[in-house]
Symmetry: C2
Subunit: 422 residues, 2 copies
Amino acid sequence: MSYSEKITKYMQKRESYAIKLLQKLVQEKSISEHERQAQAIVIETCREIGMEIDIWEPDMKELSTHPNFVSSRKDFHDSPNVVAKWSGAGGGKSIILNGHIDVVPEGDMKQWRNDPYDGKVEDGKVYGRGSTDMKGGNVALLMAISAIKDLGIKLKGDIIFQSVIEEESGGAGTLAAIVRGYKADAVIIPEPTNMKIFPKQQGSMWFRINIKGKAAHGGTRYEGVSALEKATLVIKKIHELEQKRNSEVSDPLFKSISIPLPINIGKIEGGNWPSSVPDLVLMEGRIGVGPHETLEDVRKELSEALVSLEEIDPWLKENPVQLEWFGAQWVPGSIKEDHTFLKLLESNFEKVTGQSPTLEASPWGTDGGLFTALLNTPTIVFGPGTTEVAHYPNEYIKIDQMMKAAEIIASLLIDWCEIAEK
Amino acid sequence: MSYSEKITKYMQKRESYAIKLLQKLVQEKSISEHERQAQAIVIETCREIGMEIDIWEPDMKELSTHPNFVSSRKDFHDSPNVVAKWSGAGGGKSIILNGHIDVVPEGDMKQWRNDPYDGKVEDGKVYGRGSTDMKGGNVALLMAISAIKDLGIKLKGDIIFQSVIEEESGGAGTLAAIVRGYKADAVIIPEPTNMKIFPKQQGSMWFRINIKGKAAHGGTRYEGVSALEKATLVIKKIHELEQKRNSEVSDPLFKSISIPLPINIGKIEGGNWPSSVPDLVLMEGRIGVGPHETLEDVRKELSEALVSLEEIDPWLKENPVQLEWFGAQWVPGSIKEDHTFLKLLESNFEKVTGQSPTLEASPWGTDGGLFTALLNTPTIVFGPGTTEVAHYPNEYIKIDQMMKAAEIIASLLIDWCEIAEK
């Protein structure tokens, strides 16, 4: 029996174990600052597999001076990072398997049909907050490693499994693992791509724009300057910038995405009285950063677009729009299109599913960007589950997708890390 | 000596008394629900003049069923209305002199150079919240009545002086005086017109617009519908409606006003997360109602404009914009252009100032609209002070303007109510 066949059989046999593991993980509500209990399950599982475990609470003092650090937390008490290593025999290529353990809050409870943390199984799906984003992906990773181990295969390269905190808040967990010294020859992150392969990941940043006006009574509004009217100029300019930026995207990985690098204005607030001309409007948004771009490039581009408004509007020349970068940021990530690691993932996908994989660029940032930006490590995002249900009520993951992902990743590990001579 | 000369001399002699009276009124912070102490000063002054006093707390139960009632208060405890009457000898035309005693709050204290309630005199001005809007006007009225009385003149027509509450919140005080039965052949309201004569007053109403979108992640914003993008369509439509409405205004009283009937969007709020497509935007604003219009006309016109958006936008057809009328409303007011009362005010203005008066339509509503709408009484708004400082920090009134207004009104009273035979 080939290794492929053995892995397929293994996954069939262990499916109910994988489901139970995912259910246990979903049942621990691992929102930011509450990751401990879910990490304990990860640790237990890695111990059972027989990996070497590293557990630590990231040091805020050390991390906070890093240029890529983003977090609004005071410290990381009760939020351990976990890294489990299976050292290879040597002479092979190593891999980091990275997944985040934190989940976003459940939101409006009334929109959930069941308890968001019950991990209910129904129609071949496991339901619950974090099932898709991304505890299902983490289970796929753990099942892949288990398979290799249980099948008695010994690899040359190291496998480094990372269960990180804080991905949803900007990636401080993965940053902490990088700062701690973990590195490898390639990285795979099973965020929910719906089994598409994302060799490139969009980065993103948050911005805040303040637009000034001049207050006046609404009955004599011509004596004032409406900050909202000026805001519509800003919205138009941002829309033009988005069109320009996207017209320049020629990468075929973006071809099926209608707006590859979106600029989203997510929040607006202005004025405080129906009868007064609003003298201040504030907008907050998110700008996508292409895999070919740096955060700095994009900051400059948005800034210049806003400055250009001064040419068309005398008021904005006197009262320039204020641009501020705040909160979250994710650096873009990528792997070269002819990289062996990517080719191996593609061929294993075909072998397991019998279909050609879909390659796309991701519409959102992941922790993958940090591996690319800081370690120059080729990184691929590929995993079970879909973003349509991530962060939404009644989140679920299809069990067969999760198991297929485990199978593909197990085969990939064998091809990438290579089997050691007995 | 002519009556005119006597009145001029009287005002000169009594200027310091008038200043002190205004200072006392400013020093009582008569914001809504706290009008009592200021009304006590009015009562004392009317008693000294020798008028018949009516004091009552408006009855919420009775008023609240009235179609023109607007107030967010539970009751009018501690907010007495005051009406003081000086009955004429008979056979003459009567007049209501109406001024509101309530002031708007001082706002941001840091923007005031001095205590907003100190009534400081400097460079010929009295400073403080309410000095211009409109305690200075009220003092002008009281000085005009005092002059007639002190000069020993007896008039044929009744003088009804009204010191009302709640003008700033929609006119419940004047409505209460009308409901109590007070009426006359003409009304003058010395709101701050900067000594311009407003034979027509714009009404206004507040509206609220809810615009629905569809939430999505900002990275895949094309999967959602931005309520803010739809809001820009609404803003544009409102701007077009404003242009259309104003292009139809041909009244020469509006000729020097760049936007006679403004539509002001005073507040906007939408979305709550930079990385999410906003699924709801709320806007609040004020629409001007022309002296030739009814509130109902204008409500219909705005509503139809918003409905017309459904023709140009399929999303808005499926998810119509919601329009709501809330909070304050002021009915428009007017007097016929050839009315004797208006002609008398014009001629007395010329006599006292040596200049031709400026006639304009007011850019805001006053309680005058209620007299026009409910009693069909010709109403003129004319007074000292300017709207540029009303509702703003460091509000002030020029003392000489206040005294000139008193002189003009005193002369008007003689001409309108006519001197009784001895």
